[in-house]
């Protein structure tokens, strides 16, 4: 430990509720050039974006140690009690003021939510009360690092202790090269609220033992254990053959926190070998294929729907509440629909409970096409269902619309008759048969709606659409429709 005592970071118990973990280390006598400096900043940003999960898990603060005097204190205070001059600003602000100022900062506004509504904000002070940073938002201007900085104090605070340690390891291993005493890092001591302390960075090396034949078997190659050890060493996983000649001992450095299982080592061996050098082979797996019955039925019906003169549409499963309720004369609570939280636009409020809105919107977008327009879709709708493990299920519906100068009820009815004929469902009230009975519904023109019963259950409705529905979907011609559930016919 050169130049006197080890730096100390004391964590107080107030941080427990907001951002409990912190680790620290020092890079001594570092020589920055413009490139190295830019790279240093860029590394922190990259780490923030991925492993730190946009600063929520870990935030990194780097400071010019020569402007500070330890020991350092990591605590949490009320926003109004925190006042300092933040990075690149000319005067002091309280934390409350800073939250407001950064609302319009394109870079920092995304991180405010991490601490915004909490009673206490995290903050790090030195022994003279100088603010190092208010994680995860912004550092103090006082400790700003420049190309001339010689000694860097690094602190990582966060809500995931493992990630904080990993991040610290990565920064120091990547930049210790530029220290006067190359590849050395100066430890810092962290004192936890319970009085215990540890030094960081951990820089743990791990040894993993893998059988050479496992690597050969998983990749599909036939290399000797010595060759495999060479391949891995080329990937910076220092390896050597030990024991009976079949085991390889691999040293996993702290920079490879991604290696957590032998399969990660297998991948590195394969990459070193060269994916495109591996011999292709076909598995000897003998299987008889089966179609999913519902999809098999759907495929058969699709062809005959087109043969009947109808054109297939493919519409969105997500839509607005209006589409499946108001525009069809229903209240949303009666639809038993699945609702999406925080939709960005109205188009993603609910999952569709009927295929009809999608088809009507397709007609509206193709107004210029010659009449009649005859569309169909056989696809899934979604309904809440507490008997399912997730609380909702899909139903496979078949929906057809006929849009023309006349409603064409007899055509839609004829289509239903044809579908039943194809499904081998005879007309009549008999058990296996189908029948339609006069019915009504808010989406239908009074007196021109019927319910379809088949195999003993109601499977859907057909009828002439109510003019209100037609106008709400921005259409102006009469329209008749059929929508049934095809699952009873499996």
């Amino acid at each position: 430990m050169p130049n006197g005592e080890i730096q100390k970071l004391i964590i107080t118990e107030e941080t427990a509720k907001i951002r409990p973990y912190a680790v620290a280390a020092v890079l001594r006598n570092i020589k920055f050039t413009k490139d190295r400096y830019d790279s240093f900043i860029e590394l922190q940003e990259k780490l923030h974006q991925n492993i730190c999960r946009k600063r929520a898990l870990v935030a990194i603060g780097t400071h010019d140690l020569d402007t500070l005097s330890g020991p350092f204190t990591y605590t949490a205070k009320r926003p109004s009690d925190i006042k300092f001059k933040p990075l690149n600003k000319t005067k002091e602000y309280t934390a409350c003021e800073l939250m407001n100022i950064y609302k319009t900062d394109n870079h920092l506004k995304h991180y405010l939510h991490i601490i915004e509504n909490k009673p206490l904000y995290p903050v790090i002070y030195d022994s003279n009360g100088v603010v190092l940073s208010m994680p995860p938002i912004i550092n103090g201007n006082h400790t700003k690092i420049t190309v001339n900085t010689r000694n860097v104090f690094i602190e990582c605070t966060g809500t995931d202790f493992t990630k904080a340690k990993i991040v610290l390891d990565i920064i120091v291993t990547m930049f210790s090269e530029y220290c006067e005493n190359q590849f050395t890092v100066e430890a810092a001591e962290v004192v936890f609220p319970n009085g215990k302390s540890s030094t960081f960075p951990e820089l743990a090396y791990r040894k993993e033992m893998v059988r050479a034949d496992l690597i050969n078997k998983k990749v599909g190659i036939r290399e000797t254990p010595e060759n495999i050890a060479k391949l891995l060493t080329r990937m910076y996983l220092k390896s050597e053959v030990i024991g009976d000649g079949n085991q390889i001992e691999i040293e996993i450095p702290p920079t490879r926190a991604d290696v957590i299982h032998a399969c990660d080592i297998v991948e590195d061996a394969a990459i070193a070998y060269g994916y495109n050098n591996i011999q292709m082979a076909l598995p000897k797996t003998y299987t008889i294929a089966n179609q999913f019955p519902l999809n098999k039925l759907t495929e058969l019906l699709r062809y005959d729907m087109a043969a009947a003169g109808f054109t297939e549409a493919l519409t969105f499963a997500l839509c607005s509440q209006e589409d499946i309720a108001d525009k069809l004369g229903l209240d949303i609570s009666a639809t038993n629909a699945v609702h999406i939280s925080n939709p960005k636009t109205a188009e993603f409020q609910v999952a569709r409970t009927t295929l009809l809105p999608g088809l009507l919107k397709t007609i509206a977008a193709n107004r210029k096409m010659p009449l009649p327009l005859k569309l169909f879709e056989i696809s899934d709708i979604v309904i809440k269902d507490s008997s399912r493990d997730v609380g909702a299920r899909n139903y496979r519906h078949l929906c057809a619309v006929y849009y023309n100068k006349n409603p064409g009820f007899e055509i839609i009815h004829g289509l239903l008759d044809r579908i039943m004929q194809l499904l081998d469902v005879p007309p009549g009230e008999k058990k296996r048969g189908y029948v339609i009975k006069a019915s009504e519904g808010p989406a239908f023109f009074p007196g021109r709606c019927a319910e379809v019963f088949a195999r003993g259950q109601s499977i859907g409705k057909l009828g002439v659409l109510h003019p209100d529905v037609i106008t709400k979907f921005e259409l102006n011609m009469p329209c008749s429709t059929l929508e049934i559930n095809i699952e009873p016919f499996l």
């Binding site: 000897k284 299987t287 809440k384 609380g391």
Partner: protein
């Protein structure tokens, strides 16, 4: 005004103006008998009629000649949607290769099956509100397989099964959160879990093609909903070489024979590979799919035997369709803003036939 005699080509207008001369036009015709000369009047026939056939009068009638360069009348037919025509072909390819279709008829999934069972950590950015559609109602899954959930919790937080784990606090509440599935790999996880419960283990080949949902930024080639194609093989001793072999057979059936593989990263596969093919038209290698071996941390807690490997690959349905049918904006293909004329006119989907797009024809 002095009268001017018109010379050849001089404006006869001048003469008219003086009203001194008037121009008379004399037209002469030479008329002679043509080959169809007859003293009785008969109309040229357009078509043969039943009456002509039975009476034989067609022999004496002249018929107007056909204009073979005009179009016929298109039959009054229905049409299938181009994307679904492509889906039919992919289904066919998988069935020809002996793959069984998995059930995927659930758009709603729990975070457990969509992420946790796949060893995707709870702090992973993909589990953000920004990328995934979470549900308000029903907000949470009602049931999860208890014992399996414990094993998954352990491997995430402590490791085991030969893994260090992620070493974080795994929360059941997070796993219960319902969402619109972000990939059909969730359905593959369910299928593999079911397979693992059957003892003794029998090898299997599965596939699925169905809708998935992502809460991402939308543009000309990205929508919130699209279709994912996924293939899975579970057997003893499968290798990366076998994955490449299966991919070669699969893509050959699509008419793609030149393949190259590049290392990639997925949270649930290791090793992982991106698959590239050479596009003749664009004269460059383009990505055609993603693949890998599922991680042991995903397979072992399910109860699959240790020497069983599971290889898997996936691609989107929309991309090859847009290339095949030369469509630039995905909204013209999927959704209500579809161009119906395009649906009426789209040809058969023959994936292994020569690329018919003008692009490729120009540059070859």
């Amino acid at each position: 005004m002095s009268p001017v005699w018109p010379g050849v080509g001089e404006g006869k207008g001048e003469l008219f103006w003086t009203h001194w001369t008037e121009v008379l036009t004399l037209k002469t015709y030479w008329v002679s008998k043509g080959s169809a000369f007859s003293t009785s009047i008969s109309k040229q026939e357009a078509e043969l009629s039943p009456e002509m056939i039975s009476s034989g009068s067609w022999r004496d009638r002249p018929f107007k000649s056909y204009n073979f360069s005009a179009h016929g009348i298109l039959p009054d037919s229905g049409h299938l949607h181009p994307l679904l025509k492509v889906r039919t072909q992919f289904r066919q390819i998988f069935l020809e290769m002996g793959f069984t279709e998995m059930p995927t008829d659930n758009f709603i999934e729990s975070s457990f099956w969509n992420f946790d069972a796949l060893f995707q950590p709870q702090q992973h950015p993909a589990r953000d509100q920004h990328d995934t559609f979470f549900l308000k109602d029903p907000a949470e899954a009602l049931q999860l397989p208890t014992d399996y959930v414990h094993r998954v919790k352990r491997v995430h937080s402590h490791g085991g099964y030969g893994s260090q784990g992620y070493k974080y606090n795994w929360k059941l509440d997070e796993a219960r959160k319902n969402l619109l599935r972000t990939h059909t790999t969730a359905a593959s996880a369910r299928a593999l879990y079911r397979l693992a419960q059957k003892k003794p283990f029998t090898p299997a080949k599965y596939f699925s093609i169905d809708r998935v949902f992502r809460n991402e930024t939308l543009d000309a080639t990205h929508l919130a909903e699209f279709h994912q194609i996924e293939g899975v093989v579970a057997d003893h001793g499968l290798t990366l070489g076998h994955l490449m072999g299966v991919l070669r057979e699969f893509f050959t059936k699509l008419g793609i024979t030149q393949l190259r593989f590049k290392p990639a990263y997925n949270p649930y596969t290791e090793p992982s590979m991106e698959v590239f093919s050479y596009h003749q038209g664009l004269k460059k290698w383009v990505e055609v799919g993603n693949s890998g071996l599922f991680r042991p941390e995903m397979l072992l807690p399910m109860g699959l035997p240790e020497n069983v490997s599971v290889i898997a690959w996936g691609l989107s349905l929309e991309r090859p369709t847009m290339i095949k049918y030369n469509i630039n904006n995905i909204r013209e293909l999927v959704g209500h803003k579809v161009n119906l004329q395009m649906v009426y006119d789209s040809p058969l989907c023959r994936l292994d036939a020569e690329q018919g797009s003008p692009q490729t024809q120009e540059t070859t």
